[in-house]
Subunit: 454 residues, 2 copies
Amino acid sequence: MSDHGPARVTGLDVIDIRFPTSRQSDGSDAMNPDPDYSAAYVVLRTDARDGAGGPLEGHAFTFTIGRGNDVQAAAIGALRDHVVGLPVDAVCADPGTVSRALNGDSQLRWLGPDKGVMHMAVGAVVNAVWDMAARRAGKPVWKLLADAEPEWLADQVDYRYIEDALSRDDALMLLREGKEGAFAREALLLERGYPGYTTSPGWLGYSDEKLVRLAEQAVADGFTQIKLKVGADLADDVRRLRAARAAVGADIRIAIDANQRWNVAEAVEWTKALAESDPYWIEEPTSPDDILGHATVRRGVAPVKVATGEHVPNRIVFKQLLQAEAIDVLQIDAARVGGVNENLAVLLLAAKYGVPVCPHAGGVGLCELVRHLSMFDFVALSKTTEDRVIEYVDHLHEHFEDPVVMANGHYTAPTAPGFSSRMHAASIAAYRYPDGDFWAADRAAAEQQKGSHA
Amino acid sequence: MSDHGPARVTGLDVIDIRFPTSRQSDGSDAMNPDPDYSAAYVVLRTDARDGAGGPLEGHAFTFTIGRGNDVQAAAIGALRDHVVGLPVDAVCADPGTVSRALNGDSQLRWLGPDKGVMHMAVGAVVNAVWDMAARRAGKPVWKLLADAEPEWLADQVDYRYIEDALSRDDALMLLREGKEGAFAREALLLERGYPGYTTSPGWLGYSDEKLVRLAEQAVADGFTQIKLKVGADLADDVRRLRAARAAVGADIRIAIDANQRWNVAEAVEWTKALAESDPYWIEEPTSPDDILGHATVRRGVAPVKVATGEHVPNRIVFKQLLQAEAIDVLQIDAARVGGVNENLAVLLLAAKYGVPVCPHAGGVGLCELVRHLSMFDFVALSKTTEDRVIEYVDHLHEHFEDPVVMANGHYTAPTAPGFSSRMHAASIAAYRYPDGDFWAADRAAAEQQKGSHA
């Protein structure tokens, strides 16, 4: 509490952070040959002194893959006036009101609505609010959500444009049912964690040898599902998928991921051509905007399942993917839509339609964030982990204060307060773009290289 | 041609331009109470000396409504490296290649894909390329398009994600058919212009008296259709629509526009409650992302027609609106999607599905741009203006070098080379934000006001 009236949000800082991941082909796929995993990172500052260690803060970020991270940072900065000056008590007591105010700015809304750079900026600020609220409550976000009253949670959701599929009454009923047996599930979660699957073997830029080695390693590590990138060359995909199937055996699920590479007809044909190796799901077969296209693909490739979501911009498109029976697996992303509040809407929609949620993760920090949403979903909403797995990629976790810890192919439940969204100060100092230590040294080395060749 | 090799694109300038339109409630509707019409304006500079008056340039812009225009400007700037250095001949000979390169940047694509701030930035740069190409050709854009060979035009379109609805062969057939009688239609266009309708009477912030007066004026000016904003208060809407109907009589079409204010069920109920005054179409009844919702609304409100498009982000969503039979009227916007090339895809889709295109316009400069697309559509694609009208709003035309000229409710065909996208240098100098003459004087006056009250 400050000396002068109630504690308030006093600042919103934005930092452009980039990691040079493209240099190892980490994260390479049919649409993204050279991603430099990046974060448009936001810090909400306050003058609230909650316990030890300085004033309360909330951290979060939008994940991008390099160029344009500055544009994303500018968009987050455009939201500053909506949060600076707000009383910390009110913000932490009701993030939904902040979320509605950010989405409701009529002038900024023109830049979406509910999609793209501006909407992801809203998501970053909303997630920073949840990080702050959870820190104040002394709980990880998953437990803050799981402990919340159904009425309060139902009020965190904006039903505009989804009421034909999910009303507040529907949400309330689902959340009340979710309370049954929640305590036992929480104990189970803390004991066993939440199942993950790994994409680490399957990047398109890896050799067959590396693919096989990493696939075998994944099974040894306790994973029961792996994922391979496909879509650049059919003959390569047939060969790589056979090699992976031979390496892991019949009982391990192998998902395949085309990263939007195909038209609708092509998606059906290509997936059928890979069916001999028994892929579990085909992910992002075509444009994330093509609801009717996904429905066509799903009818065409069954029993292979259809999955999408990491690029689905908002709850309105997710609603329709469910209404049109276009997907078997719904893949939320913690940093694509408008933050925890909109993801809560999506989790509720999925629960109502009985479609399992298997989050997208990887990149930088996405694993750290999204586990909170799946763990809440298990404890207090869907009540099951059957056919549910969180993507896991073993990159860049070392930069986070509360990093993902895997055990026997499962995400362990984080217990530290907050959203696990905070990076180490040293990592920020090194990878801040373009002036961080790493980038400055990198430029100096490039200059020297140029000089020695001159 | 420069002295050193072929002429090239030498620079991309971005200017943040804002007009204080909110002070007169111009443009007020149920979702946008206080828009400040703005342009994130781009200038492509070259060292090509085409005839008189300095080097060849291409101008265009993204339209926004105020806050966030700086974010939009930053996004346009992020595309600089994709165009600076390109040979002017190649750019003008094939804007489609530039369009594909801009949309294909794998790192920037993450910020959409195909939607929001980054996609509108692509649209601005692509439109600037068309302005440049048309100037070099010495033709207005509509005529450049209408004169083009079907094969060349068909190659300007990216069929990715729409091939299940429109193949290159489909496009080619439509464009070849469009050539039949094109010369006679061009003559007719030059003589009569293209029909418009006016939204000027119907802003939500206007009094009933002003509404009636402007509606009567619109009929006197030769318009056969007007539009009213609705969606804030049902009783007000019933009263305003009755007043408008009484003022214009039974033969004038009255469109109504909810600007996305409603959920699906509410859209049906509200529109039915207004049916007594015989509205022609209901525009933007709900979220522009809700394809299935629009289909439900359309079934529920017939014979009132359903229109949308000004916020539809791309060809993929337009494709589905047509596939799902969700709209009666398709409303392209010149500055929302990825520029002329993507709008060409949308016009072809609409022609294939037999749905009339009635463009969204207004704001700043949208009337200037979009008339080119409808005029091409009439001359060389759909071959008719039946049930087709371009929105007209009488704001801010004075800032353009080649402004819209209306005659008897029709847009006259522009004959000056280019895309009519160029603002007067004096307007830019005055409304450049925040340092233009108008804004500097405005701040000084506000300061003085504050001082005199102190």
